[in-house]
Symmetry: C3
Subunit: 252 residues, 3 copies
Amino acid sequence: MDTWNHISPKARIGADVEIGFGVRIYDNVEIGSGSKIADHCVIGYPTSRPDLAGKPLEIGCNANIRSHSVLYESSAIGAGLETGHHVVIREGTKAGQHLRVGNFSDIEGDCCIGDFCRFHGYVHVGKGSQIGHFVWLFSLVTLTNDPLPPSRLAIPVEVQDGAVLAVGVTPLPGTRIGKGAFIAANSQVSGRIPAGALWHSGKVRCGVHRMVNIEEGLQHPWMSHYKDAFPENSWERIDALLAEVEAASRKV
Amino acid sequence: MDTWNHISPKARIGADVEIGFGVRIYDNVEIGSGSKIADHCVIGYPTSRPDLAGKPLEIGCNANIRSHSVLYESSAIGAGLETGHHVVIREGTKAGQHLRVGNFSDIEGDCCIGDFCRFHGYVHVGKGSQIGHFVWLFSLVTLTNDPLPPSRLAIPVEVQDGAVLAVGVTPLPGTRIGKGAFIAANSQVSGRIPAGALWHSGKVRCGVHRMVNIEEGLQHPWMSHYKDAFPENSWERIDALLAEVEAASRKV
Amino acid sequence: MDTWNHISPKARIGADVEIGFGVRIYDNVEIGSGSKIADHCVIGYPTSRPDLAGKPLEIGCNANIRSHSVLYESSAIGAGLETGHHVVIREGTKAGQHLRVGNFSDIEGDCCIGDFCRFHGYVHVGKGSQIGHFVWLFSLVTLTNDPLPPSRLAIPVEVQDGAVLAVGVTPLPGTRIGKGAFIAANSQVSGRIPAGALWHSGKVRCGVHRMVNIEEGLQHPWMSHYKDAFPENSWERIDALLAEVEAASRKV
């Protein structure tokens, strides 16, 4: 141990991994090459759950984990992870490639997250949530799971590919949000939201293709004009998703 | 001082206390035996308030303080404290035993919290709040206190034993929530909420015993089916509270 | 480097600067005299934006930066900065004197903030926001900027001098809030809000002078009774702003 980091010699750290100041890495960690772990992060934090304790935390290549973040043991996260500052990702999280998680967000574990998802700040992914690919969760989105709080019941939320939850959305337990659906800011949403639907002010209003910005000539689904925010190797998948959501939107 | 922690020799630290990496403990701290203080915590942070500066922070036995948490001097917290990551507890907090505080929560001090309370993430307990025993504050609950913001006026919120504030609830200044009442998700609530009442969509609707989960045969008050989430030595108190809330609920 | 801090010898640190434990200060930082930087802060965090990388972070005199805060390079913040714990201030922020930013708040950069602004906890200042002097943002206020999320469009929010956004307010992209206006708790607000106006339940209701606390004889605009929360050298400016907001309020 050098004097300002505390890296377990048992951790398996790939080539060209850059480690900041005040970083702790526990035993049971595997980090892909080309990653950056910034100051004051804690990687491989021990779980208190006997069913998951001792299982590894696997982080893919080229991760960029910003300062003061905490990632638990017993999770697997694909290549290209990018976290903000002060992020918490708990045990039992399975996430695909190119996940981005904003400042102060909290992924509570036992959940499944697809590829290329982007979460902004203060996002709370409740335990057990099921999240597809290319999903957007904006600031303060809270995925709940207890239908009769407090209880032991847990009916997690499902958010399908390409769906967008704007600032402050709260899906109630058991909500299923279809592909490419859009939930307007500060909505409380429940039930099954069809693919391609726009939900605001308490119900489904129309297809998302009705959401336009006239000045700039932009229109939902977002994949029609925002594909280039993602790496080129994802574009074929985005195009296929766009076609599917567009068709669904016109049927809403 | 070893090279990776900064523990004051004046701090009174009980037997079998486990201290992580990058922990700072100031002079004026007393920590009960069997506690754990995880990486990058700051314990006994100095207050800038002259009336409270220099008074001790007392933490009971068997605390589990997760990483990056900050606890100020001049507070007293009972045995069995459990914090999430990145929690802040400020000066002048008096809390009973078995308090749980989730990730990114902030207790602003000068407040009184009973035994066995559970707060989830991003909970903000405004200065001066009065909170009973067995109270549940879910994510993003914000207890306000200024009736004419910004001003020097302060009319804190009171939450009585066994009450439940669901995700995103904002009690306005001076709100008093009676025993075992339930405030539905994302409500803004004010005034006096009777014991055993369910508040949603802007008013009291019925007694909490009307809140049921038919599939599982569960019903509020929550103490009727969730007692075992607490240690056995609390069950007698929970039973007494249940009887009281049930009776109140049927009178709402 | 001593063993518990990591201070670049290139950083320009003024006289009588107090530095805590576990602090990292990068090369490109200038900190005014009399400042305090508490435990586990990271000052001058490198940006990944090529247009801003390598530009300095300038912090004025007498700053008080509380623990676990992260300030990026390429920002300029006036004298008397005060942050809570776990605060993030990103690149391209220009802020005046005596800014206060509460726990867990996030200033996303490329924004302009006047003098004597006060932000409480969990405040999110979206990229590009324009904020005047003496502005109050209470907990969970989120300044958005994308009118068709997700997209590359950005129409930031403008909040003019002396305006007050109560707990949980979300101004939608392009909102302009006039001088001394008051936005009630948990409102979603959009469009142009006139100076001195009170907005609640979806629209402008009256002038802010109608907001009173009868028991204490207090009345908005807040500058009429809360001037003494600011240093005396600001009082002339507050008086002038009060006169302007009072006049505007009576015309709403």
